[in-house]
């Protein structure tokens, strides 16, 4: 499959009064055409900031250090603002996190949908209205004729999320970014949204970059996954590779904490410690303070190791982790031995 977007060695920081906040430190992600790529990590790991580089919507105080964002081989970071404006909404679209805040409070859903379509096509107002009704139906809104006349504050959380997705795909972009599409919703609504997204992506043949902190959502929707920590992609590969044979201690710990939630037995496992301060990052590996197998070599920046074709990990011990039994075995084994490792 062809690679649509490739983010290479991206590095940048926020210039703030309190010093530099190093939000993005070495990000490497390849988004394959026609596939769903997950970007997973804890809050503050730089997922959204990474994605916002593609449409170049970074806050004004963001400064690049290095890296390229290739869209079909061309670096979007070098494009003019005029070209970017044509690219946004057409080459790349985003369904933002917190849709209620992302929808304009004083315009109806229909007006916003219509404008999104007419920006990129020659559709008349009436055609845009028809298209808005159709797209609302596709995101499984029960009464599109009613929703089209509503304002953001009149929508439920699930409805607002559906409208947000509709807004991003009424003119289908080559790449769709979904930022935390299930966060803040009831569990039942989450399940509905996931199934709606799966149908939509399949029927429209979309290429998707999905941002989430929920590994469960990754498992449901993604083909590939990039695991992020403190602005670095720690591991990248297809989900069977990453989930079954993780080659990075952070991925392992993340999978372990998720399993303990989903398994519903025993104490909830959470990774000890907290992510490093982005103003004051440690030398070498950023996970060193929380890593179960930290060694002296971890004070130096870890290499990006390709443990198998298409499966890379940023760790000094990538090969060793990759050859270990999968995390499923670890936790199940641990349970049998009395709940400890």
């Amino acid at each position: 499959m062809a690679v649509l977007v490739e983010i290479q060695n991206l590095e940048g920081y926020f210039d703030t009064i309190g010093g530099d906040v190093r939000a993005i430190n070495s990000v490497n992600v390849a988004i394959e055409e026609g596939k769903v790529t997950g970007l997973v990590g804890e809050t503050g790991s730089g997922k959204t900031m990474t994605a916002l580089n593609i449409p170049r919507l970074m806050p004004e105080n963001f400064r690049y250090v290095s890296g390229r964002v290739l869209f079909r081989g061309e670096d979007v970071l070098s494009w003019s603002e005029e070209r970017m404006q044509l690219f946004r909404g057409d080459g790349v679209g985003i369904a933002f996190q917190d849709p209620k805040a992302a929808l304009n409070p004083v315009f109806t859903v229909g007006e916003q949908l219509g404008r999104a379509l007419r920006t990129h096509t020659d559709a008349t107002k009436d055609e845009a209205r028809q298209a808005a009704l159709r797209i609302l139906e596709r995101v499984q809104i029960t009464d599109p004729g009613r929703t089209i006349r509503q304002y953001a504050h009149e929508l439920s959380g699930g409805m607002a999320q559906r409208v947000m997705v509709a807004l991003a795909v009424i003119h289908p972009p080559t790449l769709l970014i979904l930022d935390e599409p299930t966060t803040g919703l009831d569990v039942t609504v989450q399940a509905e949204i996931i199934s709606m997204l799966r149908d939509l992506v399949e029927s429209m043949g979309l290429t998707v970059l999905l941002i989430t902190h929920d590994l469960g959502v990754v498992g449901e929707l993604c083909d590939n996954v990039a695991v992020m920590y403190a602005g670095r992609t720690m591991e990248f590969g297809d989900i069977s590779q990453v989930f079954e044979k993780p080659a990075n201690p952070y991925t392992r710990e993340l999978l372990r904490s998720t399993e303990s939630v989903e398994g519903g037995v025993g104490d909830l496992y959470s990774i000890p410690g907290a992510p490093p301060d982005l103003r004051n990052l440690p030398q070498g590996c950023f996970f060193q303070d929380r890593c179960p197998s930290v060694a002296d070599v971890c004070r130096t920046v870890p290499p990006v190791v390709e443990v198998e074709p298409g499966h890379v990990s940023m760790c000094h011990f990538a090969e060793r982790y990759h050859s270990m039994p999968g995390p499923l075995h670890i936790t199940r084994g641990a349970e049998a031995e009395g709940g400890q490792e």
């Binding site: 919507l57 044509l86 909404g89 917190d98 805040a101 992302a102 304009n104 315009f107 920006t119 990129h120």
Partner: protein, 338 residues
Amino acid sequence: MDSGLSRQLFTRLLLVAPVVFGVVTLTFLVARVFAPDPVALYIPPQADEELRHKIRVELGLDKSIPEQYGVFLADLAQGDLGESTITGRPVTSDLWDRLPATVELAVVSLTFAIVIGVPLGVLAGARRDGPLDFSVRGITLIGMALPSFWLGLVLILIFFVILGWLPGPVGRLPLGAVAPEKITGLYTLDSLIRGDLTLWWESVRHLILPGLTLGVVIVAPITRVARASMVEVMRSEYIRTPKALGIRKQVIYFRYALKNALLPIVTMIGTIVGFVFTGAVLVEAVFNWPGMGKYGLDAILKSDFTALQGFVVVASVTYIVAFFLVDIVYMLIDPRTR
């Protein structure tokens, strides 16, 4: 109009009544209790007590304050604001005659200020810290600091004294010119209706300098409020969304952002409408413009307490009406307030 909107309007109208009542009462108290004895205006200081008493009775001042208040309210309810001591005419007719002059000045200055101030503020706020923003901030700061009468005098000096392009401060028409027969009282309109183009042109020329002066005075606060409000709105997530959709900047600024930024701007314009109708005293004085503000000023200078009282009532009601209109505009703009 949907039912929610009309219900809200009705509630607000109900609230207007007590406010008007309070203002009227306060005006009465200030004029009767704290103002100097009006009788002194009618008679020489050496007049005897008998004459003094006669005039008191004539003016109704021999009655107790509550009684006077009752009479005042009863008159007011019939639209009677009393008679001016100086002009000897009903205050209502005086004010009514002056309203068209004020309306002409208000329309010209407000149009100027809104047409210039809102787009300028929007662009400055949308591109914060850009070159336009710096200029706008600097110029409006100077604009706010300039005294209006001084600005008026400078404009007269330039356009009348030096260049001779526009008439001097002689009011609404050249000295000796006869006003068009009253239809609306707006000379610019009445002269057109009568088909007198020469008179129309004169009335327009006389309106330019006072309109511009007052316009410059009020454009600064409108621009600054528009800018500040836009800066706030441009930071919102709902502005990032249309950017991400590739929607044109002009549409984002003047449609998606401006409608959200409009509430403080409309509030400011409401305040300014009240101001130009009744508070443009200095500009009216400089240009000898026979408007309502000048009437109020003359009433103060000549201790014409009935006229002053009438002026204050009308001024307050103007503000109340302006804010009521602002409330209506709010509801039309923001669906969350309906």
